[in-house]
């Protein structure tokens, strides 16, 4: 569990963290949107949902390459799990067909379950990894599963802002 630094001086010691955000609320209140970076889809394996792991240059100074790649690779794995064609998907398909697809009124499809997992994962990554660095990931489903949108925030006003020093809650949950 990454615990957020509690004083302004501690915050400045964070690597890649010249903006002193340490939770999402602070990000919204004291930051302004500077830029958005879009991670495109990787179609080399066909039409399955997969995102490019190429590290965008705009994030060079904001986050470590390995953290970013880990996030994208985990997301890709989740999507691969959702779209896997195998025993379970056949079973689901056949059962649904026999019940004239009414069964989906009662149970969730496997894809929907994985999407919920993805959403929780992105929320967790935002809180632990990205918000402390002034970044925010948008769930790809809100962009039509076309891109992973990463919003880059800049601190409004002076650096080492004292506005955040009163709220010292840790960002991890």
């Amino acid at each position: 569990m990454i615990s957020a630094p509690r004083t302004a001086t501690d915050r400045t010691k964070l690597p890649y963290c010249h903006e002193s955000f340490h939770n999402l609320q602070e990000l919204r209140h004291s930051a302004s949107l500077a830029n958005k970076v879009f991670i495109q889809r990787d179609y080399t394996d066909g039409t399955v949902c997969k995102f490019q792991t190429k590290f965008p240059s705009e994030l060079d100074s904001r986050i470590e390459r390995t953290l970013f790649e880990d996030t994208v690779k985990t997301l890709n794995n989740y999507y691969a799990e959702a779209e896997k064609i195998g025993g379970q998907s056949y079973l689901e398909g056949c059962l649904a067909c026999l019940t004239v697809y009414l069964i989906f009124l009662c149970i969730e499809t496997r894809y929907e379950k994985v999407l919920k997992k993805i959403s929780r994962y992105i929320q967790e990554q935002n809180e632990k990894v990205y918000a402390p660095r002034g970044l925010l990931i948008t769930d790809p489903i809100e962009r039509g599963m076309r891109v992973i949108e990463i919003s880059v925030y800049e601190d409004r006003g002076s650096s080492g802002s004292s506005s955040g020093s009163s709220t010292t809650s840790s960002s991890g949950r």
């Binding site: 499809t109 929907e112 919920k116 935002n126 809100e142």
Partner: protein, 385 residues
């Protein structure tokens, strides 16, 4: 919780979606704008089946077996369910790019193209990707401002890019794409079975009754039979042909759009990179693949303005059933989608991946050698059901 209760009209996202779709039931139902032919389809199916249940079933249940009407009812229910599912669901519409994404793509394109001399036409916006060792070109959609994913196409009738676009079917009043293709196929398959079933038992009924009371008397007693036989006869050729055509497409993992454009045919062309080269695998992928979620957030709440972000939005947005837990913590996801709604009438189906709606039944013109009967030019005026 915020204390101020601002009474403002709740707007759901479907009200502001661009494109030429109509929405019903507060965003739960999504169809194309022209629904006339869909109502005809409904009328023909329900009408013919009603006649069958009224005239033939009582006689056949008594003289042959009560299982006959029971099976007919099951088939009918299945056909209607598949039809409604095809017509009412999101075919796999890709939402348009928000302004920032569109700008980002524009900058990428400009960077890739370099300087274009004044007076020269800029090069066409195409991206090449390698899929399974084949080069596939992705085209840029000027309406949606995105590079279309492979197999996606823009339907000019609905004015949307649709993923794995097959065709726009006026008979079901919707596009057929990734999300509803299997329902469409099951609809045509079950409708073929229903048509054959009704046709066969009509003949059996007429024969049995004629043996008892003569042919003319039979027709007098059950006039509905004549109508049913007529409708079924003409429907049979088109629907069975269509089912055969789509079975062929599924076995090759192709879409109607690709087949018509000849994307994978011909010697110099790329081979289909999506096919598993195995009939069973292709069928399984298309028919038993995962049920893709809709990426069009139709029932989510529109965040009206940024004055007072009430937490009620977060709880309300999480109640809709698309399985899309909107993360309300991201400030950047709020902006309205630019409404490119135009009041123009739909262009008559000419354009990438659309079908002429006045052409052969079920909008099909299969150039492939499946069944010449499927074209059935004589039945253009006729019901086709």
């Amino acid at each position: 919780m915020s204390a101020v209760m601002i009474t403002r009209k709740v707007t759901r996202k479907w009200e502001k979606l661009p494109g030429k779709n109509t929405f019903c039931c507060d965003g739960r139902v999504m169809m194309a704008r022209q629904k006339g032919v869909f109502y005809l389809t409904l009328f023909l199916i329900i009408g013919t089946c009603s006649l069958f249940f009224a005239f033939e079933c009582p006689y056949l249940a008594v003289h042959l077996s009560p299982a006959i009407p029971v099976f007919a009812v099951l088939l009918f229910v299945f056909v209607m369910a598949m039809l409604l599912r095809t017509s009412f669901s999101d075919p796999g519409v890709l939402p348009r790019a928000l302004p920032e994404e569109a700008n980002f793509i524009e900058m990428e394109i400009e960077a890739a193209n370099g300087n274009v001399m004044a007076g020269q036409r800029p090069p066409p916006r195409i991206k090449n990707v390698q899929i399974n060792n084949q080069i596939v070109k992705l085209k840029y959609c000027y309406t949606c401002k995105i590079f279309r994913p492979p197999r996606a196409s823009h339907c000019s009738i609905c004015d949307n890019c649709v993923d794995r676009f097959d065709h726009h079917c006026p008979w079901v009043g919707n596009c057929v794409g990734k999300r509803n293709y299997r329902y469409f196929y099951l609809f045509t398959l079950s409708l073929s079975l229903l048509t054959i079933y009704i046709f066969a038992f009509d003949i059996v009924h007429v024969v049995l009754r004629s043996v008892d009371s003569g042919f003319v008397n039979t027709i007098k007693e059950t006039p509905g039979t004549v109508l049913e036989v007529l409708v079924c006869f003409f429907t049979l050729w088109s629907v069975v042909g269509l089912t055969g055509f789509h079975t062929y497409l599924i076995s090759l993992n192709q879409t109607t759009n690709e087949d018509i454009k000849g994307s994978w045919s011909g010697k110099n062309r790329v081979q289909n990179p999506y096919s598993h080269k195995n009939f069973i695998k292709n069928c399984c992928e298309v028919l038993c693949g995962p049920t893709y979620p809709s990426v069009l957030d139709r029932r989510g709440l529109m965040l009206e303005d940024s004055s007072s972000p009430t937490p009620s939005d977060a709880s309300a947005a999480s109640t809709y059933k698309n399985g899309n837990p909107v993360s309300q913590t991201t400030k950047s996801s709020a902006p309205l989608i630019p409404n490119e709604h135009t009041p123009d009438e739909a262009k008559p189906g000419i354009g990438a991946g659309t079908q002429k709606s006045t052409s052969s039944p079920k909008e099909e013109k299969p150039p492939s050698p499946i069944s010449p009967n499927a074209v059935a030019p004589a039945v253009i005026k006729e019901s086709a059901h």
